[in-house]
């Protein structure tokens, strides 16, 4: 690891004032589990300065908004998992956050960091000169790609690693983003960007912006939700495929459905065709199976990841049936 300077601003304002115009030179650190424990230790990134934001009061805590929860970006993942209000108003988020890594990671990692973490692609993490590092190749395309994207891939085939992201997209959350010059609010499904939109980044944040808060609308009355994650190991593993599913039922008939996939695309993937296939149907084996099929419609597997197609179908079907 290279030497770097470290700053611990007292306020969010001070923090944003320190940020620069270029990604990577001046970097934001929250829990540090990825940027420090991963990127810097593995020499993927050598920032001149780390701006620590974990301790900032303005970025911490879970507050009641109007019809929503407002969760500070520096809130610990384990606090979200254990929070009674999150469990009540957005149980899907608590479930998904509970599936992240290990207890140790959740005790150190923050929600903002989880949403902004970098890809886990082996080539990226081994510092291959790929698109993500400013090169012009995706080494997975003809390499070891069993963990890579089957949907929305190309030119980079990374999958988005976050477990909290699919849940938050399903819940219709939005991100409040702050910079030295002002702030903006972006719906979370517009927060993440595909490689076609920006091959080097996974979200819309500019170098001088901080993700300050996530606004999570209360789960609709009468809705039920579940997060299902498939891994090689039982724990301490990223998703081979995951699904955040939320349905609102009336007399057993689906009024509204949100199905968002993790681990299969460079962004949390909203399976709109599956959602549409469910609307107006009773939730049963047939409609759940059809939704599973629709969820992977358009999937284009690489040489080693075709298994993700049946796996995703099964996971979507089972998630839905568990809500019936």
């Amino acid at each position: 690891m290279e030497n770097f300077s470290y700053s611990r601003p007292a306020t969010l304002k001070e923090a944003t004032a320190q940020l620069g115009k270029e990604h990577g030179k001046i970097a934001i650190m929250a829990g540090g589990t990825d940027i420090y424990g991963g990127e810097m230790k593995d020499n993927l990134l050598a920032p001149e300065r780390l701006v620590h934001i974990k301790h900032l009061k303005e970025l911490q805590g879970i507050r009641q908004g109007t019809g929503s929860l407002r969760i500070g970006a520096s809130t610990l993942l384990s606090d979200i998992v254990e929070s009674p209000v999150v469990q009540k108003q957005a149980p899907l988020l608590a479930m998904a956050a509970g599936k992240i890594g290990t207890l140790q990671i959740r005790n150190m990692g923050t929600l903002g960091g989880n949403l902004c973490q970098r890809p886990r692609c082996w080539y990226y993490r081994n510092n291959y000169p790929c698109y993500k590092h400013g090169g012009n190749a995706c080494f997975s395309a003809i390499g070891e790609n069993d963990q890579h994207a089957i949907l929305l891939g190309g030119p980079s085939f990374i999958v988005h690693p976050s477990d909290s992201a699919p849940a938050l997209v399903a819940l219709g959350a939005s991100a409040r983003i702050v910079s030295g010059t002002g702030e903006r609010t972006v719906p979370l499904d517009k927060f993440f960007v595909t490689p076609r939109e920006n091959v080097r980044r996974e979200n819309v944040l500019l170098p001088n912006e901080i993700l300050a808060e996530i606004d999570v609308p209360n789960a609709p009355a009468g809705s039920k939700a579940i997060y299902v994650k498939e891994m090689v190991r039982e724990v301490w593993d990223f998703a081979l495929c995951s699904v955040a599913a939320m349905v609102t039922l009336k007399d057993g008939v689906v009024q509204d459905a949100r199905i968002v996939l993790g681990g299969v695309a460079p962004v949390p993937y909203r399976a709109v065709k599956a959602e549409a296939a469910l609307k107006g149907k009773t939730l049963d084996e047939a409609s759940a199976t059809a939704a599973g099929l629709a969820a992977v419609d358009g999937a284009r597997p690489l040489s080693k990841n075709a298994y993700k197609i049946p796996l995703t179908q099964a996971v979507v079907k089972r998630a839905l049936l568990s809500l019936a």
């Binding site: 886990r120 080539y123 390499g143 070891e144 498939e230 090689v232 081979l240």
Partner: protein, 757 residues
């Protein structure tokens, strides 16, 4: 002999009981000093520079900038390395050639880690890049890039024959051919390699995390041309080894080179990544097998060609142990093994060496031929396994010139089958199950040598009756520091609490080859028994005059009290005897006792019940029985610990753990715990695992004990593959069994009908 008396029903006081590890508290409270915990005044930090080339020649190497950096005390390259090959290895401590990505090309010793790391970056190397090869079969081709001047094959093909396989196949009623593949796999050591070297003139002391201090001593003597008396290797506490620390490695020599050049002690500790990339990993095998059977259910002919990927430098071992020749009665057998060098990291012995791989191949094949014939696979095995009295080869040749003794594989199979309720398995694999989750049961048998070979110990009885046991074997989590004191306590008749073990020191104890290959208990254990007997003889002789000149033969010692047999009131305390006698020291060095026709081996059988999820490809182990012959158990707690740990280590290989290499660069892509996927405590619930100790007694080991450490890792892959077949009707011939493999096999199965077995 007292030993015989003990065997035939004589009650044992200490052995056979449950005793927690004597040093458990030291280890878990952090008081035990592992090499990494040792600090020596003036000690420097060593670091290795690792090459980002997969295969290259070093054209030039310039260390001047690194040497000029303040705080740097020594830099070494291949130019400093003695031209002496490491034992079991083709390379020198440092080479002018890089044969795998991550190979060390230079070493630095500096006042602190930061300076050492800075210095590494200042070393300028010019390479001539060479084409690389990572697949062993590719490497065998004439056109392949050559790692060594004499080619990529290590020595000649090893061929072993018995009978005539070609004739055997023509005589067979059914013949099948299959290929089974095991990838390169991490060896599993939790404590990364670490060494400290300190020179005092031309005397060298090396503290190392090693299984084989004796081998390290030999190696260092050869490297530096020193007499044995000048080199001391100490390995008091070792945080697991699993074979990877049983062969000499370059880090020990590198540390000593740095310390000599810097004239200060140096510590070189591997990071996790270095530990994965540059220790000795479990080698890849491609196992091509052809088997023929007769209608009367007898195995008739077996022809195996095994290709082992040795990686860059390893020379000693191949991918075949003795499963093909020793488990079953087969009149015609031929095995042929090719050991091939490629540009992947160095491999080496890893728990069970090639046996888990060979067991996977053979025990899958046995299941497959049984299925083809419609035979029940357990019955087929029981019909064909070797039993006590059967002919078996004494040496490494094919000829069966010996006789198998104390063999209980039949009991392992029968007791294991009873425990798992074998009759519950599906008569037709995969059939008759509703819903996406399919259950099935599988079995695999194994065998191995029981240990033995040279061992030694020195025992000192102090004047107050307390005892210290010195031995050069190490306790790598195997409980040696507990079991050996138990043998001494049992033999002498003193409380275990009065016996202390000093392990892993080549200067204090007789030479000992190392703790691997199931051998410590049968080797060093027998030496401890013999030396304890000698101590006891001297104690009783000294006690006689204090007990009205009783003859030593009429005396016995129990709990540290010497008394006249049958007259317990006539006694004297050991301490009273020792105060007058002074210290007693006895040394014993034992050798391989296997003589004559008798061949003693160990055996085991594993049974797995699994659930295969047809839709997600997930395999869950529901129940697992590990039935083993280990002779007489010396300490049941340690035995179960070894059986459970070894079994889970074997199972780990089925789930996803695997070293993965990029086909275009030859680099290992997943040298970390997150991506390598060693299982966690949640993956194999210990409650599903049950160990059975099959009753038996060895004729060779101390108190009837056989070695055990390696065997439990052998059958896991085959037992799971066979259980998956029974559950789902799909046959997996490549380890690990990934979701991708399982879902693919299931989808292909849709088109082929199921078979009966």
């Amino acid at each position: 002999m007292g030993q015989q008396a003990n065997r035939s029903g004589g009650s044992l006081k200490v052995l056979g009981k449950r005793l927690p590890n004597l040093d458990a508290v030291e280890r878990v409270t952090g008081r035990a000093k592992y090499v990494g915990d040792i600090d020596i005044p003036g000690m420097l930090v060593g670091r290795a520079l690792r090459s980002a080339q997969t295969h290259a020649r070093i054209v030039s190497i310039d260390t001047s900038k690194a040497e000029a950096l303040p705080g740097v005390k020594a830099v070494v390259t291949y130019k400093d390395a003695p031209k002496v090959a490491l034992w079991g290895h083709r390379g020198y401590v440092l080479n002018d050639r890089v044969r795998f990505r991550g190979e060390a090309v230079a070493g630095v010793a500096a006042v602190d880690a930061e300076t050492a790391e800075k210095a590494l970056k200042l070393i300028a190397i010019q390479y001539e890049v060479l084409p690389f090869v990572i697949d062993p079969e590719e490497a065998m081709k004439a056109t392949a890039s050559k790692l060594f001047e004499d080619g990529n094959q290590e020595g000649q093909a090893r061929i072993l024959t018995r009978g005539d396989v070609a004739k055997g196949f023509t005589e067979s009623d059914k013949v099948i051919e299959r290929m089974y593949h095991c990838p390169t796999m991490w060896s599993g050591s939790l404590e990364p390699r670490c060494a400290i070297a300190q020179w005092d003139g031309d005397r060298l002391t090396l503290w190392a995390s090693t299984q084989a201090p004796g081998r390290n001593q030999d190696n260092l003597c050869a490297l530096f041309n020193l007499p044995d008396a000048n080199v001391r290797v100490i390995a008091s506490y070792v945080g697991s080894g699993f074979g990877t620390k049983s062969a000499n490695h370059m880090d020990e020599g590198l540390t000593a080179l740095l310390a000599r050049k810097a004239r200060r002690p140096v510590k070189l500790q591997y990071s996790r990544e270095e530990e994965i990339l540059d220790s000795n990993t479990r080698f890849e095998t491609k196992f091509y097998a052809k088997v023929g059977v007769k209608k009367d259910m007898s195995l008739h002919s077996l022809d195996v060609r095994c290709i082992t990927n040795l990686g860059a430098y390893h020379t000693r071992l191949g991918g075949l142990g003795n499963h093909c020749t020793h488990v079953y009665r087969i009149p015609n057998v031929r095995t042929e093994q090719y050991r091939v060098h490629t540009n992947i990291p160095n491999t080496g012995p890893t728990r069970g060496v090639g046996d888990p791989q060979e067991c996977f191949g053979l025990e899958s094949l046995i299941d497959e031929i049984a299925t083809e014939m419609g035979w029940e696979p357990l019955e087929f095995r029981l019909k064909n396994i070797k039993r006590t009295g059967d002919p078996i080869a004494r040496g490494g040749a094919g000829t069966e010139d010996g006789r198998l003794v104390t063999q209980v594989l039949d009991k392992c199979l029968e007791e294991g089958a009873a425990r798992i309720q074998w009759s519950r398995r599906n008569a037709t694999p995969g059939a008759g199950q509703t819903g996406p989750k399919m259950r099935g049961i599988g079995v695999a048998a194994t065998e191995r040598g029981g240990g033995g070979g040279q061992g030694g110990t020195t025992i000192k009885v102090f004047k107050d009756g307390s005892v210290v046991l010195f031995f050069a074997s190490t306790d790598i989590g195997t409980g040696t520091r507990t079991t050996l004191p138990m043998i001494a306590a049992e033999t002498m008749g003193v409380p275990v609490s009065s016996v202390r073990a000093v392990s892993g020191d080549t200067e204090l104890a007789p030479y000992e080859g190392g703790s691997f290959g199931n051998r410590t208990l049968q080797g060093t254990g027998r030496a401890v028994e013999a030396a304890s007997r000698e101590c006891l003889r001297q104690i009783l002789a000294a006690a006689g005059p204090m007990l009205n000149n009783a003859a030593p033969a009429d005396l016995e010692m129990q709990d540290g009290v010497i008394r006249v047999k049958g007259q317990p009131d006539r006694n004297v305390a050991l301490s009273a005897v020792m105060v007058r006698r002074g210290n007693i020291v006895a040394t014993s060095i034992t050798n391989q006792p296997q003589t004559g026709m008798d061949v003693e081996r160990t055996s085991g059988a594993h049974f797995a019940e699994v659930e295969v999820d047809r839709e997600t490809g997930k395999v869950q182990v529901l129940k697992y029985i590990a039935a083993h012959d280990l002779g007489r158990p010396m300490n049941l707690t340690i035995v179960e610990n070894q059986l459970e740990g070894g079994t889970i280590q074997g199972l780990a290989l089925t789930q996803g753990e695997e070293m993965r290499f990029d086909p275009r660069t030859g680099a290992c892509l997943n040298a970390n715990f997150l991506d390598l996927k060693p299982p966690t405590a949640l993956d194999f619930d210990p409650r599903m695992l049950e160990a059975i100790v099959v009753e038996n007694e060895s004729i060779l080991g101390p108190y009837g004990a056989k070695g055990l450490g390696e065997n439990p890792t052998h059958p896991g892959m085959a037992a799971i593959a066979n259980a998956i077949f029974n559950a789902a009707g799909i046959r997996l011939r490549e380890v690990p069994f990934t979701r991708a493999d399982i879902l693919k096999a299931l989808s292909e199965q849709q088109t082929t009908p199921g078979r009966t077995a």
